[in-house]
């Protein structure tokens, strides 16, 4: 049973077409949820950490939100350079990071 599930697996948007990526988790003692961006041939690059339900963080065209069961990464008016795979990961208790499989985003001009 997956602890972290990301949807959709892939998403194709036109430039300027806003959308949201979902990360649902089943861990009970969530201590933190992380969003990363990964470009082809590169390691993941940190975007946000969320610690508690109701928390929101923003950076440029990205906004991350957290509830007790899921997190959303909202992308407003995306540009082609936002194309990447977006990874979600959680920390439960005193364990290490558990990653989802990611959402591959392609933004066409």
């Amino acid at each position: 049973e997956d602890q972290v599930t990301q949807s959709p697996e892939a998403l194709r948007l036109q430039e300027g077409e806003s959308s949201s990526l979902n990360c649902s988790y089943t861990v009970s003692g969530l201590r933190g949820l992380f969003w990363y961006r990964q470009d082809p041939g590169k390691g993941p690059e940190f975007l946000f950490t969320l610690y508690s339900a109701g928390e929101e963080k923003e950076k440029e065209r990205l906004k991350a939100t957290l509830t007790k069961k899921e997190s959303f990464l909202h992308i407003t008016a995306p540009k082609p350079e936002d194309s990447a795979t977006y990874l979600c990961a959680v920390v439960e208790g005193y364990s290490t990071l558990t990653f989802g499989k990611g959402t591959m985003l392609l933004v066409s001009p």
């Binding site: 590169k42 390691g43 993941p44 940190f46 920390v91 290490t96 499989k101």
Partner: protein
């Protein structure tokens, strides 16, 4: 910007060879990690270290071994490479458990 380096970036090698993947960080982080990532799949933790002379196995069983003799260096070794070891290996570091992990750009390993 994170300073964590992995070498080599790409390695194609024959079955049975001994391989060492290098990972170094210049941030003075105590915690270091090795992940394995296959295309379209999640990152799986294979080894981690919370400091010098500390190493632990991760969630994914791996035939590799690691050592942590210096804070900045966390090499991963495969004694006898097999085609099933073909994958991307990512190294990361952090200063405490809820700080974001900083990743290197990975080593893409192909065993023929």
């Amino acid at each position: 910007e994170a300073d964590i380096y992995q070498t080599p970036r790409y390695l194609v090698i024959g079955t049975g060879k001994k391989i060492t993947l290098e990972c170094s960080q210049t941030m003075g982080h105590d915690k270091m990690y090795w992940y394995q990532q296959d295309p379209g799949m999640e990152l799986h933790l294979i080894h981690y270290s919370y400091g010098v002379n500390s190493t632990e196995k991760g969630d994914l069983s791996s035939e590799s071994t690691v050592s942590r003799i210096r804070t900045e260096h966390f090499p991963l070794t495969l004694e006898s490479a097999r085609p099933s070891h073909t994958s991307q290996y990512l190294c990361a570091s952090s200063s405490y458990d809820l700080e974001p992990q900083h990743f290197g750009d990975g080593t893409r390993l192909s065993i023929l």
